[in-house]
Each structure stands twice: as C-alpha cells, then as structure tokens.
C-alpha cells in the first residue's frame, strides 16, 4: 500500500543545525548530516533542510552539507531557502539534493517554476507556500488564506488555493504548505487550509506548521487530507522519536512504512 510520509525538517544556518536534538552518541550534534543519519536510521521517509543562512556568502557551506548528506544518507531529501534562479537549483541538484523547494522566487517569477520543472523534471521541484488566514473574511464565509513571501514578512495579496493551482499547472511536483498562523504554536496544523489545498490540486501536499503532539499528524493526514506531514520541534527536542510516531500512526490505521 502507498504509505503516507513522515518528514522531519532541519533548520540549517551557516552549515549547522539551529534547533538541536538531544541525541546522545552523536559525534557532532550540530552537523546536519549526522542528524540526517539518525533520522534515516529511525526510518524517516524523507528529510527537508531549510537553509536559513542570511548571507549569500555562506551558501557554499550548505552545498558542502548537501554533498556530504547525499553520500551518507540513502533516503530522499529536499533543500529549501534562498533559492533564486535556475543556476541555484542546478547547483543544489548536482550536489546531490533530490528536490529543491522554492518559495519567494516562485511568487516573484512564476516562470522559474515552469523553466525548472521543464529543465529538471517536476519531481524535483517543490513549491513552498507560506499561508496566512485573511482577517477580512467573516466567520460565516469560507476561510481564505493569503500567500506571504520573504520568510512570512511580505504579504502578496495572492490567494493560497489559486496559487496552489497555478504552481501545479506550471509544473511543480509537490507543495509544501505552511500555516503561518499555526507555526510554532503547537496547536496542530490548520486543517481547513491543508484540506482546501489538497483537494484543489492533484500533486502531493505536505502539511507543515503547528505540530505539538502525535494526534496532530494523524489529523493532518486524515482531516487535512495531506499526503505527507512535516514537523521540526517535536522531533528535534526528542519529544517523540520517528519510530514512535510511525508506530502510533500505523496503530491508528494510517498506511505507514515501519
């Protein structure tokens, strides 16, 4: 049976993991590659590295991380953060990333999604969407969400569901959907948002933002109709292991690879 995917996300700054895991027996707990190995050994289905390096001078460090990871970790991984153009994508894919995730650059230049999926194939082009609920919508209307760029700092006026449909038609192979309202709250995914996008497109949708407990992952996959669920802090801080998470979901009847 086709399984749902559990995806830990690692924030990387200047080549080092920002939120640390309390893993013991790691030679270098700040090394993204070492942490990726731990997740891979625990049967994580995929990994996402989010490069939050501010200065472009230090982006070369991320390339080294990607190269080392591709040589040591044999599950798929996606790299996002600061990707501006086709050359950035080519460099990351050649270094060994399986997919790249594009956010701001896709909004500012939708043709990039088209060109990149034409050049490298849809399967490696993920469009990340940062979504925020529109306040202007009254409670008796259906909710709407707006796309934000620049790490959630810039509102764009673009409707999230429409944008999701557009990136699909441009050739994106997958959508990484983050609820800005829920991110960091530990209150669970924005299930209405996740379901709205997942039902609007025929490409896989990864739910992100707000996981505080395992039930939230279950809700994202069932009520939210997500194809994959991403979480960062619940795994980083050792609250739950990947193994425990997958067993929990499997016991609740979700198709999971143990």
């Amino acid at each position: 049976m086709f399984s749902k995917r559990i995806i830990p996300c690692l924030d990387v700054k200047d080549g080092r993991v920002v939120k640390g895991i309390n893993f013991v027996n790691l030679r270098d707990a700040g090394s993204p590659t070492e942490q990726a190995k731990v997740y891979s050994n625990e049967n994580a289905d995929e990994l996402v590295f989010l490069d939050i390096t501010a200065s472009s001078d230090h982006r070369k460090t991320m390339l080294e991380v990607v190269k080392a990871t591709a040589e040591q970790v044999f599950i798929p991984f996606t790299v996002g953060g600061g990707i501006r153009n086709i050359e950035d994508i080519r460099t990351l894919l050649h270094a060994g990333a399986d997919k790249v995730s594009i956010n701001t650059a896709a909004v500012e230049n939708p043709k990039l999604v088209k060109d990149a999926s034409w050049e490298f194939g849809s399967q490696c082009i993920v469009v990340a969407i940062d979504a925020k609920r529109k306040k202007s919508v009254t409670s008796n209307q259906n909710p709407e969400w707006e796309v934000y760029t620049y790490g959630g700092r810039k509102p764009t006026g673009i409707d999230v569901v429409e944008w999701a449909r557009e990136v699909e038609s441009l050739g994106a192979g997958e959508i990484l959907l983050t609820s800005m309202d829920r991110d960091g709250t530990k209150e669970g995914y924005d299930l209405e948002l996740t379901r709205s996008v997942s039902e609007a497109v025929n490409i896989p949708v990864i739910a992100s933002g707000g996981v505080g407990k395992l039930e939230h992952l279950y809700d994202g996959l069932t009520l939210g109709k997500a194809d994959a669920v991403l979480a960062a802090s619940i795994f980083h801080y050792g609250e739950y292991s990947i193994k425990q998470t997958k067993q929990y979901l499997k016991d609740k009847g979700i198709p999971i690879r143990l």
Binding site: F2, R5, F74, P76, G96, A97, G121, Q123, E174
Partner: protein, 217 residues
C-alpha cells in the same frame, strides 16, 4: 556465494539527475564505480547502471547527443549485467506516450504510460513491491534477502507496460497494479530508487553486484 571482489560498474551519465547517491551507494555496497558518458568507459566495465529522472524525450535526446545508443545496445548484446533505474528503466522500452509518442531504445518491447484516474501524480513516496512468485532465477537473485511486499521509494509519473508479461518481476499498487521491476536475462529494471530506499535499497544494489561477480566466474 559470490567472490568478494569489487567489480567495476559504470554509471551512465547522460546529464539527467544527480548521480552522487547512486554511485556512492554502489561503492558502499562493494563496487568500484566510474561515472561516465564515454562509450568506451561503459564498454570496459563489468556491469552498467543506467539511472535517471525526468522527461523521457529529454532522456532520448541526451543519449543521442552523447552518442550513447550504440554503446548501450552493445552492452546489452554482450549480456553484461545491466540495471536501469526509474527513467533508466523506461528508456529501455519501445515508446512512451509522454509528449505524444516518443521512441525509446526498444531493448524491451512495450510502452510507457502515465498514471490516470483518482491518484495524485507524480507517484511520490514509499510503496510496496510485490515480487512475482514464479519469477526467473535471475529475479530471485536481485531480490535475495528482500522480504516480499517491502517498501521502496518511488518518484515518477509514468510506468512501463512490457508486452511479454513473463518479464514482470515485481508489481506495485497505485490506482491499479503497475510493473515496478522487470527482468530479461541480464537486463534488470526497477521503477523505484534503490539508492533512496534505505537499507533494503542498498541490498538490491549489493545483489546486483553479486550478479555481476557471478557472471564473471
């Protein structure tokens, strides 16, 4: 048991997809690896891995540009162990329905078609691989030590339909059953990515190396 030596495997570089993981995985599981787009390197290796992701027409175009077709035909004719992965499997077929009809290498008779119906495309993620029960001994060698219905990582929008059903070595369910592994003499093809499928994927590559070693004794 096969002798514990490191055969030289050529990984075909035709400009599609990253080859770092597949070449490293082969090295880890006991091969010497040369990544090359030169026919003479491919011809001098003991076995060939033909990887690739992306568009079919692009794959064929890139092979033509690099003048690799005749080298591939020669390798197959010589009976050298050959492993196609993902697009590398699909390109072995007669034609694909991607962008209209695109001709393939026609090493295995059949076509390549797109997923239809009520499933998300690409088929991206982990799915179970059901081994054909009355398969050839060669297929059994490829799946040595792999429990039936194990999970492997897939990422593709098209799948192969061999004309000769006896070549089907494994199938997978995704809105219906499709062929996830074919085996014809020394030609193996997997739709999933062994280099991205964790320890069981590495086992497939190790088995392929054993097949190469056995073919040389």
């Amino acid at each position: 048991m096969s002798p514990s030596k490191s055969p030289l495997i050529a990984v075909v570089d035709y400009g599609l997809g990253n080859l770092r993981s597949v070449s490293k995985a082969l090295e880890l599981t006991g091969a010497e690896v040369i990544v090359s787009s030169k026919p003479k390197d491919l011809l001098s290796a003991s076995g060939v891995v033909f990887p690739g992701v992306g568009a079919f027409y692009r794959g064929m175009e890139n092979l033509r540009e690099r003048k690799l077709n005749s080298a591939l035909f020669k390798i197959i004719k010589e009976g050298k162990p050959f492993l196609g992965i993902c697009l590398g499997l699909q390109l072995l077929f007669t034609f694909s329905w991607e962008h209209g009809d695109t001709k393939g290498l026609d090493i295995i008779e059949g076509r390549v078609k797109r997923f239809e119906g009520n499933v998300k495309v690409p088929h991206m993620g982990w799915n179970q691989v059901k081994q054909t029960q009355d398969s050839s001994p060669k297929t059994k060698d490829l799946f040595q030590g792999i429990p039936d219905n194990s999970y492997f990582y897939f990422v593709h929008s098209y799948f192969v339909v061999p004309k000769d059903k006896s070549l089907i070595a494994a199938t997978t369910e995704y809105g219906g059953e499709f062929t996830s592994c074919v085996c014809k003499e020394n030609i193996f093809g997997v739709q999933f990515h062994p280099e991205k499928s964790g320890p069981l994927g590495l086992q497939i590559l190790k088995n392929f190396i054993d097949i190469i070693n056995d073919s040389q004794t």
